[in-house]
Amino acid sequence: MSASGRRVVITGLGVVNAAGEGVDPFWASLLAGGGSLGPIGRFDAAGFPVHVVGEASGFDAARVIPRRFVAKTDRFTHFALAASDQALAGAALPLDTADRSRIGVWFGNTTGGWDICERGFAEYYEQGPDVVNPWQATAWFLAAPQGFVTIRHGLRGMSKSFSGDRASGAVALYYGTRAVAWDRNDVVLSGGCEAPVSPLSLLCFHSSGDLSEAADPSAAFLPFDHRASGLVVGEGGAVLVLEDADHAARRGAPVLGEVLGGAHGTSGDAAGYAAVVERALRSAGCGPGDVDLVLAEGCASPCEDRLELDALASAFADAGRPVPVAVPKAAYGHLYGGSFGTDVVCGLLAARDGVRPPTPGFEAGPVPAGLDVTAGAGPLPVERFLVASRSRYGSCVAMVFAGRPAAAGDR
């Protein structure tokens, strides 16, 4: 990052969610349109106040994870293990010779593993508290994905996990980047995961008031639209390999993008959110006109959407052209811990292919003149993009990325 510390590049990507498993299948599915949200299939949801979710129904943990791990871990960890495997394979990181005491894992996750937890409760009350399964303590807790990924790959560097509501993954990715910039690590696997589709978890999410109660999958999650009625939660995860630029150059790593800058702050209003976006731009050495695409939080609450649109319009007021804003998560659901990493993947692929990611279902909303939200995918040259996230508690993260190795003039 140009603001302070060492330069950080991205050398590997991994995703799992309702739209697909693996970067290219996910991207193809997203661009094909149609959306991947649907009725709850993981349990009988009759009478539940939430009807539509983004289930990673094609994901078979046993295909990518050793069986002994599958039994000992929760679904949210499975997503993290699968996405980490993909990201490490793409980065071609030679773990056998790398200094693994300088490789860390920085993940976001909001709730922990409620699938195994609910089974544990059932064991507790049906069979007795003295016979609960011995894996629950380590499978449920929120840093389980971090722990299992460090063990699977022998990663001994500084690793941390964060909860942060919708911004869980954003906070993890921001500080994962800083951990490289601060010279705490040379490489960080960063992103996060979420498995919110279990009965108790879903009811708890619903109590936040942030979830859509709509029954029609094509109209349940409509960020920035006049018909917005709340968000739809999705299952999945995303992991990026973040690497010190010199470290990556020395080993001839495939560089997929660069972190140009970022900022994190907390505010209850649009001005505070805009200030975080502006700080992120400044730290990246960018003006508002230098960003070709914004991937926004887009949580589809009329009030929060308005706040976010106002913040973005203010931060990009001097862009000199309408700034494209996209919320691809409308296709596969809000992944909370996995959300921000997935948005970064969308931005990198948008830059690679010159394509604007879709905001499925968008028709018309309170979008200010300086911003441009469009439902479908379409051609768009993208060199630099900004990803923003904001929690229900006002924690705001914005990061600026270059979709390809930044040339000297970018810095």
Binding site: S4, D44, A45, G47, R100, V105, N109, T110, E118, F121, A122, Y124, Y125, E126, G128, P129, D130, V132, N133, P134, Q136, A137, T138, W140, F141, L142, A143, Q146, G147, T150, I151, H153, R156, G157, M158, S159, K160, S161, F162, S163, G164, V171, Y175, R178, W182, R184, L200, L203, C204, F205, H206, S207, S208, H264, G265, T266, R392, Y393, G394, S395
Partner: protein, 419 residues
Amino acid sequence: MKGVVITGLGVVAPNGTSVEAFWDSVMAGRVVIEDEPLMSRIGLRCRGVARCRDFALADHWAPEEARELGRLGRFVQMGATAGRMAVEDSCLPSSGIDLSPGAVVFASAVGGAPEMQDLYETLTEDGRPPILPRPVPDTAYDGIFLDYVPAMLARRFGMTGPTAALTTGCTAGVDAMGMGFDLIRHEGLPFALVGASENPLNGISYATLDVIGCLSRADGAVERSSRPFDLGRAGFVISEGAAFLVVEDAAHARARGARVYAEVLGFASTSNAHHMTDLLADGESMALTIRRALDDAGVEPSAIDYVSAHGSSTPQNDLFETNACKTVFGDLAPSIPISSIKSMIGHSLSSASLMALIATVGAMRRSVVPPTANYEVPDPECDLDYVVTGARPKALDTTLVVASGFGGIHSATVLRRAR
């Protein structure tokens, strides 16, 4: 590199709900571990807990705020209270300084686990599946997950810097301190409010930890069920509580004439990448962590005057730490006092490391080494100086606080007496 100092402390602990009371209790070696009837009632073999019996919202909050907090999880209540104590103790709000750039870094391992179990009971018939779509209180999300406390503290004191919640289990408290330390050193923040809160005192938490043999099954009086480094140690005693610090840019603190409790010299954290709960007896992964913390601090091993151990009272941890100290300190290891306050107040998961850190700050200020209580039978393999006969007068200049936790995480920080 910027200096970082501690300028505010707040604690809600089983042995005190003010910092002075906490220090008095720690130095007196007072054990506050008690029987937990629920454990035997549900057929578990573990025994002993430590509770914050003196904690009441009404003692700390005006009625309206107490009412708001009272609707949320107990870990939220204790965390908000300890956080507020630390901020007020730092005198930042009354200093007239702009608090807006400040950060809040919070931590918890299990969040609202008891409230989650209550919710499960509410949504089932006698605890049996299926989970029924009954109404859920609108406070469930805020009261179970971790992000209400940092947001609430930031809002109350007008901070608009980063707010975050770490989830790294039993190292999370000192990890929050480490993050605040890095935010000040590397990002130029003037100060950060960092802390942790935990309330794991419920049936499912006991059951899931007992089934893997983590919780103490030690024989004898329940007060002696946490006995770090003793041959008869047989697991940790679970407890609750919250602890917060204000860490501040040393120049910022000096400019406003703040009271400085101690200096933070360095921090490090690593993973053993070996096992979620098992530790290798050689202590190598903790030795690496301590060495990195010393490097970060720019301090030689010989400078360390006291080690505040994780000392959880599990057979494996206490040997693991002992061997880590032998590796790092070599011939000096037997002459460095080491102690574990978990012998007195049990293990409150995320907040335990910050309680140990606050005890260590008290030790430096009072020139007294906190004791390890309940030690009777020496373990031939754990043969260092565990300060087992009561608090010991000793001038302490440079100290080390270490923590380990589920997920194979180890963290360590180096502190120095305020000058």
